[in-house]
C-alpha cells in the first residue's frame, strides 16, 4: 500500500504551503479524512481523487470552514483550527459549480466579491477591472453573467478569486465543461498566474492532462487516506519505460526479453520495457538482432499522469480503467 512516495533527494523546504499532521475528520462513524500527513510546497499542486475520497472535506477543513476531529494542519502558516478568517482572507477560491448572480454585470460581481473581503468599494472596482482584463474578459465586463458562455463564467469566477491578489488560489475543477479553446485559455491563465504572478495554486481536477500541464506536484486522496504525494516528475521517474515498435517475430522478441529478466508489456507490435539503466537499450537491440526482429521505433515512454494514476490505483488494489473513475458518482 503506497502511503507516500518520497521524492529522491528532496531538499527540505522551510515553509510549506500546506502541512497537516494526523489530520482526521469523522462524521459519526464515517471517516472522511483519515490520518492525513501532507506536505504541500509552494507552487502548483493537483488535488486528485474520486468523489467521496475526501477532497471536498479536505478543502473545507483547509478553508477553516469545518472543525477537524483530531490532528492539526496549517495553510500559509495559519492554523486551520483557529485562524479560519485569516485563511479565507488570503485565499482565492474558485468553486466548481455556478457561483455567480446571473443578473449582475461581471464587473460588479467581481467588485462585490472584493468588497466581501473588506476592500474599499473604489479599490475593489479598480481591482475588478484588472482581474477581468487578466482573465480575458476585458471586453465583456459590462455584460451580465447570464449572457456568458461556460468558459466566460469560469473566467469570471477566477477573476473573483484573484481580485485581492491572494497567495493561494484553490481552483475546483477549473476546466470542467469547457470547449477546447476555453479550456486552453483557462489552463494558460492558471499557468501564467503561477509563473508570472508567482502564486500558488491548488487545483482539484479529474482531467489528468490539465493537471499535468499546470501543476508540478500532486496529492492523491482515496477513501480519505493519502494515496500518493510528491512532484510529478519524481513520481514518473519510478517506472520509466522504453517503448518499442517491432516488425516481425514479435512473440520471439517478447520471450527473449522476458528470458533476460526484463519487465515487458505488449500490445501487438508495441512493447514497453521497464527501464533499468543505460544498458536497457543495448539489451533490447541485441535481443532484436538475435531474433531477427526489426526495431522500427524505440524511445523513452513519457508516462502521462493518467498512466501514473492507473499504476498507483492498481498497486492500491483497485481495478480502475481510467482516471474517469475519479468522477465516481455523478452528483
Amino acid at each position: 500500500m503506497i502511503q507516500r512516495l518520497e521524492q529522491q533527494g528532496r531538499i527540505m523546504v522551510e515553509s510549506l504551503l500546506i502541512e497537516t499532521k494526523n489530520l482526521t475528520k469523522s462524521y459519526g462513524p464515517h471517516v472522511a479524512l483519515d490520518d492525513l500527513n501532507l506536505s504541500i510546497p509552494h507552487g502548483a499542486t493537483g488535488l486528485l481523487g474520486p468523489n467521496g475520497a475526501g477532497k471536498s472535506t479536505f478543502l473545507k477543513t483547509m478553508l477553516g470552514l469545518i472543525q477537524v476531529t483530531s490532528g492539526e494542519g496549517s495553510i500559509l502558516g495559519h492554523d486551520i483550527r483557529t485562524e479560519g478568517e485569516q485563511i479565507r482572507s488570503k485565499i482565492g477560491y474558485m468553486p466548481e459549480y455556478d457561483a455567480l448572480n446571473p443578473k449582475m454585470d461581471a464587473i460588479y460581481q467581481v467588485k462585490y466579491s472584493g468588497e466581501l473581503l473588506g476592500m474599499n468599494p473604489n479599490i475593489a472596482l479598480s481591482r475588478a477591472h484588472q482581474a477581468l482584463e487578466y482573465v480575458g474578459l476585458g471586453e465583456q465586463r459590462y455584460r451580465t453573467v447570464e449572457t456568458f458562455s461556460t468558459g466566460m463564467k469560469q473566467a469570471t469566477k477566477l477573476a473573483c478569486a484573484l481580485v485581492h491578489d491572494p497567495n493561494l488560489i484553490i481552483a475546483d475543477e477549473p476546466s470542467n465543461g469547457l470547449d477546447a479553446k476555453a479550456r486552453e485559455f483557462m489552463l494558460q491563465t492558471l499557468e501564467n498566474t503561477v509563473r508570472q504572478g508567482q502564486k500558488s495554486v491548488l487545483m482539484a481536477s479529474h482531467l489528468m492532462e490539465d493537471v499535468e500541464r499546470v501543476c508540478e506536484n500532486i496529492v492523491l486522496l482515496h477513501k480519505g487516506k493519502l494515496a500518493a504525494q510528491g512532484k510529478i516528475e519524481d513520481l514518473k521517474a519510478i517506472d520509466k519505460e522504453v517503448e518499442i515498435h517491432v516488425w516481425g517475430h514479435a512473440t520471439k522478441m517478447e520471450e527473449g526479453l522476458l528470458d533476460k529478466g526484463m519487465n515487458v508489456r505488449r500490445e501487438g507490435r508495441v512493447m514497453r520495457v521497464r527501464y533499468q539503466d543505460e544498458s536497457t537499450y543495448h539489451t533490447i537491440l541485441s535481443i532484436a538482432a538475435k531474433c531477427g526482429t526489426q526495431i522500427r521505433k524505440m524511445h523513452d515512454h513519457e508516462a502521462s499522469l493518467e498512466d501514473l494514476f492507473l499504476v498507483i490505483m492498481e498497486r492500491l488494489g483497485y481495478d480502475v480503467k481510467g482516471s474517469e473513475a475519479l468522477l465516481g458518482d455523478l452528483s
Binding site: M208, G248, L285, S286
Partner: protein, 329 residues
C-alpha cells in the same frame, strides 16, 4: 537470416474474418453525382474484419460513402454489396449492422439503460432480453456504473458511448462510426478508442471516419484515404508508405557518436543518404525500409553503438497524405 514476412502490410496482429468469409463491404466502381458535382468517383474497395479508418478532409466524400453504405442514398454508378447483398431498400444486411452517426438527438430525460433497452425492444427483443442486452453493451462501453443515470447529465464523451452502446445491440458484424471522437474530452477519447480497438480484436468489421490523423493512427493501421471523391490509397499504412517509393523513407537515430554509426550504415547498399543534423542525431534515407531495419539492430550491437532512440519521422499518415496529395490540404 532474412525474416519471413513481406512488406505488404501483414503484422503479427491477425484479425479474424467474418463468419461467411465474404468481404463485408464491397464497392465496385462506385460513383455518386449530385448534378454537376462528383461526390465520389470510381471507388473500388473490399473491407473485411478489424478496424478500418476512413480518412479524408471535409468534402473528400466520407459522408457520401457512409450514406451509401447505410443505404440512405443510391450510387449513380457502380455496385455496392453489404454481406454479399445489395443494400438498397433491403433491410436484411442492416440486421447485422450498427451505425453511430455524428449527430443524433438523444433523449436526455431517459436513463442510459432505458434508452438502450427501448431501442433493443424496438429491434424485436422481449423485455427481459432487451434489459440484459442493454446491460451487456453498456458494460462493454464502460458505462456500467452510471447506466441508471439520466443521459442529460452525461458528459459529451459519455453520451457518445451511449450512442455506441445502442449500435452494438444484437452484436452486429459491421459497425460504422462517423467522427466518434468529435468534441470529446481526452478521457472519453481514450475510452472510445479502446472500445473500437476491442471490437476489432473481437473480429467485427469496424469503419471509423475522422479528419484527425493522429486519432486514426492510434486506433488502426488499416486505412482508406479519400481525397476529392477519389480513392487515393487503401491498406496498411506502412505498406502504403512503402509503395510511395519516390519518397525515400527516413530513419532517425539518436546516439552518442552519430559519425561512427554513419560510417557503418553507409556501407549498406540500400542506404542512399546519411545526414547528421545534430551532434547526437543521425538521419538515414533509404528506398528499402525493411532491408535497412533488418540490418540495423545487429549493426548497432556488433559495433557497440550507444543508441537510445529510433524513429521513422515520415512513416505516418501526415506524411502519406502530404506525399499523395502533393501537400494540398
Amino acid at each position: 537470416m532474412m525474416p519471413d514476412f513481406t512488406q505488404t502490410g501483414k503484422s503479427e496482429d491477425t484479425t479474424s474474418t467474418t463468419k461467411d468469409n465474404v468481404p463485408v463491404v464491397v464497392f465496385k466502381n462506385v460513383s455518386k453525382q449530385y448534378g454537376q458535382i462528383s461526390a465520389l468517383t470510381d471507388i473500388s474497395l473490399a473491407i473485411s474484419g478489424g478496424v478500418t479508418g476512413i480518412l479524408g478532409m471535409n468534402g473528400a466524400g466520407k459522408s457520401t460513402l457512409f450514406k451509401i453504405i447505410m443505404g440512405k442514398i443510391r450510387p449513380s454508378g457502380g455496385q455496392i454489396r453489404l454481406f454479399g447483398e445489395d443494400p438498397w431498400k433491403n433491410q436484411s444486411p442492416y440486421a447485422r449492422t450498427g451505425f453511430v452517426p455524428e449527430h443524433e438527438k438523444m433523449h436526455d430525460w431517459m436513463t442510459a439503460i432505458d434508452f438502450v433497452t427501448t431501442f433493443a425492444r424496438l429491434n424485436g427483443m422481449t423485455r427481459e432480453e432487451a434489459r440484459l442486452e442493454a446491460e451487456r453493451v453498456l458494460t462493454f462501453v464502460e458505462l456500467a456504473d452510471v447506466m441508471h443515470k439520466q443521459i442529460g447529465r452525461f458528459s459529451k464523451g459519455m453520451r457518445q458511448r451511449v450512442k455506441i452502446a445502442h449500435a452494438l445491440v444484437n452484436d452486429p458484424d459491421l459497425i460504422v462510426l462517423d467522427e466518434p471522437l468529435q468534441g470529446c474530452d481526452p478521457l472519453a477519447r481514450t475510452s472510445i478508442m479502446n472500445v473500437i480497438r476491442e471490437l476489432g480484436r473481437l473480429g467485427r468489421t469496424v469503419l471509423v471516419s475522422s479528419h484527425i490523423l493522429s486519432e486514426i493512427e492510434r486506433i488502426t493501421e488499416q486505412i482508406v484515404i479519400l481525397h476529392k471523391g477519389r480513392l487515393l490509397a487503401i491498406g496498411n499504412l506502412h505498406a502504403i508508405r512503402d509503395l510511395l517509393d519516390q519518397h525515400p523513407h527516413k530513419i532517425a537515430i539518436r546516439c552518442e557518436q552519430p559519425k561512427r554509426l554513419a560510417k557503418d550504415l553507409i556501407d549498406i547498399d540500400e542506404v542512399t543518404t546519411v545526414s547528421i543534423p545534430a551532434k547526437d542525431e543521425l538521419i538515414v534515407e533509404t528506398k528499402h525500409f525493411g532491408v535497412v531495419h533488418n540490418l540495423l539492430p545487429s549493426i548497432i550491437v556488433k559495433n557497440n553503438h550507444h543508441v537510445w532512440e529510433i524513429d521513422n519521422p515520415d512513416d505516418n499518415l501526415q506524411s502519406i497524405l502530404e506525399y499523395l496529395t502533393g501537400g494540398l490540404p
